[in-house]
Amino acid sequence: MTTALQKDKSGTVAESTRQVNYIRPYYEVDEGEDSYDIRIFLPGVNKGGVDLSLEGDTLEITGTRTQKTPETWKTIRREQQFEDFQLQLQLNVKIDGGKITAKIEDGVLGLILSKAEEIKPKSITVN
């Protein structure tokens, strides 16, 4: 009984000390004929630090910095932020969730979201 309670407590502590501050990264969106091309700027984040999730019409991107400043370095001047990145995109268009492709290169995450079949432009031939 006691053990169970202690476990519970430690779980709560871990939950509350978890980082909650994120910065919203800069991003660009281009619309193509049958897809959306999104570029999210995540300097210092590599492939292992990206977490993508699609829930309903919210696409959430979390970028955890994999390049940390060594603790032995003393700061002389600092302009860059050190928080991790998080971006929530509200998709007001239907996309094909199974066809999301993601690629990260030089700190930029490239996402291609395919439009769902029903909203793709169709050409109708006149008979």
Partner: protein, 141 residues
Amino acid sequence: MKLIRYELPQIARFNDIDRWFDQALGNFNFGPSLYDQGRRLNRLTPAADLYEDDNNFYARIELPGVKKKEIDVKLENAVLTISGNRKSTENEGEQSLSFNRSLSIPDGIQGDKIKATYEDGILTVTLPKVEISKPKLIEVR
């Protein structure tokens, strides 16, 4: 007598002010806006940090989306200049955005031993200190 290191002037440029707003408002989700687009695309002065340890000074500059071969690093008269282009292919074809950032580097650098590495959009320039400016332990006999 004490020697006090000259501190680099901390002038708030427009980019810095933008960054403060980002820090304060970063958790809100405003969605894309024209203001956002115009403002950020003009950011031609990348953010830079300067650090030191016993052996080296380190300059770190965020250059997301820039290819390694497009970065130029130059040291001239104790000023480190990083410049180059960010190329992106968009619907209308290739776009190029040039950037430039200069940093005053403290004295006592071995200019011929500077190293630069680029990983995940962050450039790290390592500037080794000359022997004399490293802290030394002197044994008392």
